[in-house]
């Protein structure tokens, strides 16, 4: 009898259990999967050769076209039969050039002052950054390993020869709807000695997530070390690249 009831319960549960993830979640996951494959293709050796070869051919062709297109400069052509200019003309010419140089220098000084003022202006400080979801890419594990293996010496002597990163790379340790939850994790990580940021991400203008990220990192060896340390502390992370 109990088996029959168990079977009835199972059937009832299967009937009732119909919920599916919201459409924006589906889109986010599938987009992540597509981006990840695109990135991996970019790193395939075959693809790299074609890209590098194509770029080199492009540079050579452009250089030849530029050389052919640019006419000879007038001041490079000096007829042999031209009479030398009188000394007074040369002196006045020299004086004019001196005046021009002086005017140019004073103009440059003004611009430098303006730039100093701009850089001296206080920069706004944010507690979190709002970023676009399409600007973030999850970096696959194998890609990190490739980067680390490509220069084993740099891994051992990271200080002497770091494998520098061109983009902002973070270790994502959590993602929350509630900012207060993100704040709690951030505080914990900061107390553990990690530099931490909260990135606010809006999907479809309706669903906001607060991603807690350690970083940014400037070299893979340091990133790998921090990742291991976080793992030892019980935090599983994802390596995420934030495009500018």
């Amino acid at each position: 009898m109990s088996e029959a009831h168990d079977s009835k319960i199972s059937d009832l549960y299967q009937t009732s259990s119909q919920e599916t993830p919201p459409a924006h979640v589906d889109r986010a996951v599938l987009s992540m999967a597509r981006k990840s494959v695109r990135r991996r293709r970019a790193y395939s050796p075959f693809g790299n050769h074609w890209v590098a070869g194509g770029a080199m051919v492009g540079v050579v062709v452009l250089s030849v076209l530029l050389i052919l297109a640019v006419p000879p400069q007038p001041d490079t052509y000096v007829p042999l039969d031209d009479a030398p200019a009188p000394l007074s003309d040369l002196l006045s010419e020299e004086l004019r050039e001196h005046k021009n140089r002086k005017a140019l220098m004073s103009e440059m000084d003004v611009k430098k002052d303006e730039m100093r003022e701009e850089t001296a202006a206080p920069k706004p400080r944010f507690d979190f950054y709002t970023v676009l979801p399409e600007m973030e890419v999850v970096i696959p594990e194998e890609e990190i390993q490739i980067q680390l293996q490509q220069a084993p010496a740099a891994k051992e002597f990271a200080r002497a020869a770091p494998i520098l990163l061109e983009d902002k790379i973070y270790l994502q340790t959590g993602s929350f709807r509630e900012q207060t939850h993100a704040d709690v994790l951030k505080v914990k990580l900061v107390e553990l000695g990690f530099k931490c940021e909260i990135h606010k991400i809006s999907i479809d203008d309706a669903n906001v997530y607060h991603r807690v990220r350690v970083g940014p990192f400037t070299d893979y060896a340091v990133l790998d070390k921090s990742r291991q340390k976080l793992r030892e502390l019980g935090y599983e992370t994802q390596v995420v690249k934030q495009r500018e």
Binding site: P22, V29, L30, M32, V37, V138, E142, E236, Q238
Partner: protein, 180 residues
């Protein structure tokens, strides 16, 4: 999964389509909707990130729900609500039949009411029993697979499932178990 690891995005889409509902409900039955969404996305991000490490020694299903189980336990630990492992002696099933969700004299003749009550009862199961029940019913896993995903023995998984079913059986309104 091996096709996706080789760069076939369509293969991922098929995998995702097949598992999305079950995995989402696995989290939904054990948390609220926003947490379920976060955990669901995290697990798929984990699949994407570590697809090259995937080895077909276990089924994809087992691997996916192992990730899901670990992520959920990690979430509970961070939230400070780690489930307490229950002692699973043979007598536990008898004690656990007292169900708070039993409506008593209320008649549940409507199928919708039965469904609603069952979902409440599933949510109210002890954590390890609920895990086992959901892995069985949402992921369609065998007892051996459940044991592998939850890092336990097959006998333990079997006991947990038995206790879960016993608790549901005793707590649900009899009207729901009668009729065709």
């Amino acid at each position: 999964m091996l096709h996706y690891a080789a760069g076939d995005v369509d293969a991922f889409q098929q995998l995702y389509e097949h598992h999305r509902g079950g995995l989402y409900r696995y989290f939904l039955r054990q948390s609220n909707a926003s947490v379920a969404e976060e955990l669901f996305q995290d697990v798929w991000a984990g699949v994407i990130q570590s697809r090259k490490r995937y080895r077909p020694k276990a089924t994809f299903n087992t691997w996916l729900y192992t990730l899901a189980y670990n992520r959920l336990v990690d979430h509970w630990r961070r939230e400070g609500a780690r489930p307490v492992e229950q002692s699973m002696s043979d007598d536990d099933g008898a004690e656990m039949v007292a169900a708070d969700a039993n409506p008593g004299p209320q008649r549940l003749v409507d199928l919708r009411d039965c469904l609603e009550q069952l979902l409440q009862l599933v949510s109210g199961l002890p954590d390890v029993q609920r895990q086992t029940f959901l892995l069985r019913h949402e992921a369609g896993m065998s007892l051996n697979e459940i044991a592998e995903a939850t890092s336990t023995r097959a006998e333990t998984a079997k006991s947990r499932l038995r206790y879960a079913m016993g608790r549901l059986r005793s707590a649900i309104a009899q009207e729901c178990l009668e009729g065709s």
